[in-house]
């Protein structure tokens, strides 16, 4: 009875699959796009040269060039010739809104929910463990992060959420959870917390933060996890409503008319 162990075979198949499934240029493009959207690479910043980019990322120069062409096409990068030339990030407020809306439209509801589930698994577990491991000083540092939060702007509210979630992960004492939290924030933070555009959601995110702090202070692991995952759940439900709104707007006759006008 050969190969009865299908589970092991599936695991082997994962191990021996090509390291990069999708096209490498798309992977480079996606990584740079995520970094620009997350604000790691900033408006006006000069990107490394094609040759350096290829070297840093371990891809062929032609792959790096392809990715830069795609970024140029998306309007995220501008290329200047000459002595002070190079590729520069172009990412102002309009570009940011456009890019995020494009991503909300491009991802399916299934993908959006899956993303939030992945994030909730990390952040929820971090909160659960943090409630067990937080010292009084740890609780105090969470209180201080909350006190410094700027709820008047979407950017300020998002930074506060990111800072808070990172600290919770650190309090869990798990380097892997911290690492994954940072990675997911860079990849999807700007998208997931798009709801913080609404003042109502900024206020709600604060309420949920206070709930998490109370649960951690009380060493109540279950409540800390539930409050964290519920917060992420409400963010993705907003995102899905937003997707419906964006799709309805682009399907409407007015939008089509505007889209085709010169």
């Amino acid at each position: 009875m050969p190969n009865a162990t299908t589970r092991a075979d599936a695991a082997r198949a994962v191990i021996f699959s090509p390291l990069e499934g999708a096209g490498r240029a798309e992977l480079v493009e996606q990584r740079l796009t995520d970094a620009i959207v997350a604000g790691v690479l900033r408006d006006g910043e000069r990107l490394p040269s094609e040759a350096d980019l290829a070297k840093f990322l371990g891809v062929a120069p032609v792959t790096a060039r392809e990715a830069l062409v795609a970024l140029r096409h998306k309007g995220l990068v501008r290329t200047r010739r000459g002595r002070d030339g190079g590729s520069f990030v172009t990412y102002d407020r309009d570009a940011s809104t456009r890019m995020l809306e494009e991503r909300v439209r491009a991802l399916s509801r299934i993908e959006l929910r899956d993303l939030s589930l992945h994030y909730a698994a990390i952040a929820g577990m971090a909160a659960e463990v943090a409630a067990d491991r937080a010292s009084d000083d740890d609780v105090q540092s969470l209180v201080e992060i909350d006190a410094r939060a700027d709820l008047a702007t979407p950017g300020g509210a998002r930074r506060a959420v990111g800072r808070f979630q990172l600290e919770v992960a650190a309090i869990s004492q798990s380097p892997r959870l911290v690492h994954e939290e940072l990675r997911l924030q860079a990849e999807a933070g700007a998208l997931l917390w798009l709801c913080l555009r609404d003042q109502e959601y900024r206020d709600r995110s604060r309420e949920s933060r206070l709930e998490v702090i109370d649960a951690i202070r009380a060493a109540d692991s279950t409540s800390a996890r539930v409050a964290t995952t519920a917060h992420i759940g409400s963010a993705v439900e907003w995102l899905i409503d937003e997707k419906v709104r964006l799709e309805a707007a682009s399907d409407s006759p007015i939008a089509r008319h505007e889209g085709s006008s010169p």
């Binding site: 997350a38 604000g39 790691v40 900033r42 067990d132 491991r133 010292s135 009084d136 000083d137 540092s141 201080e144 930074r159 990172l166 992960a169 650190a170 004492q173 798990s174 380097p175 911290v178 690492h179 940072l182």
Partner: protein, 263 residues
């Protein structure tokens, strides 16, 4: 019986201290060296200071068998004329965070631009905050060092003072995993289960494999007993062994701010 236990525990606590003390001695030496150097410098600049710090910490970071994996100087904001926020921190090749291709020590690349999304104000972190408040050395951790290397770390730091003003601090990082490796053989000489905790009661190493490093040791009365150590940042150590209501004995490990709990 109780007396014999206390003596055994005392000896082990001292040996735990003897593991940490050389690292404290190391940063105390760097502190004095740097204070001498900076006292004569009317306008200190990062560009001049960095090579001096690199050569100061390199010898220890390169030494085979050293306990430390990172070390350096962190400037008070605005102290250096050419770098408002400045971390001059080096990592040894034992450090698994993006090791240098050719081995040897390398500089930690930190974000020092306050406008950047990735920037973190290091003056809010424990390894800065506590020595700033107490004016003396401090042991931070175990904690996940997400500012620098994402590793599970213990950091010791001590203020650098010029003209009565704290201008920065020097410090060193140790991996908790490595520290556990060094401490376990010492702890295993005890005849009873024993655990090393920091001033917050957080477990550093334990002979009981189910006492997880990083978890809080929740024994009745322990937090209260450690409170003065925590408040002083380790400057005040409980001087004598004491017994908790549940019967466990708590022995300070010298003046390291760590304590040995014998159950």
């Amino acid at each position: 019986m109780t007396q014999a236990l206390a003596t055994g525990a005392d000896a082990i606590a001292l040996r735990v201290a003897a593991v940490i003390d050389p690292v404290f001695a190391l940063i105390d030496g760097w502190q004095q060296e740097l204070e001498r150097l900076l006292a004569d410098d009317p306008e200190p600049r990062a560009a001049d200071l960095d090579p001096a710090i690199a050569s100061t910490v390199a010898a220890e970071l390169d030494r085979a068998g050293t306990l430390i994996t990172g070390a350096g100087f962190v400037a008070a904001p605005g102290y250096l004329a050419d770098a408002p926020w400045h971390l001059a921190w080096w990592l040894s090749d034992a450090n698994t965070f993006r090791p240098a291709p050719g081995g040897g020590i390398r500089r930690l690349e930190a974000v020092s631009d306050p406008d950047s999304e990735a920037f973190r104000d290091y003056t809010t972190l424990e390894w800065w905050r506590v020595p700033e408040r107490t004016g003396t050395r401090h042991l931070t951790g175990p904690y996940v060092d997400y500012l620098c290397t994402d590793d599970y770390t213990v950091t010791v730091t001590t203020p650098v003072t010029v003209g009565g003003e704290m201008v920065g601090l020097v410090g060193a990082d140790m991996y908790v995993a490595r520290l556990e490796q060094v401490l376990l053989p010492v702890l295993r000489e005890a005849t009873q289960p024993c655990t090393v905790v920091n001033a917050s009661g957080r477990i550093v190493a334990s002979t009981d494999a189910h006492r997880a490093t990083g978890a809080l040791l929740r024994l009745e009365g322990l937090a209260e007993m450690l409170a003065p150590v925590r408040a002083s940042g380790g400057a005040v150590a409980p001087t004598d062994a004491a017994t908790l209501p549940g019967g466990a004995t708590v022995v300070p490990c010298g003046d390291t701010s760590l304590a040995l709990v014998v159950e």
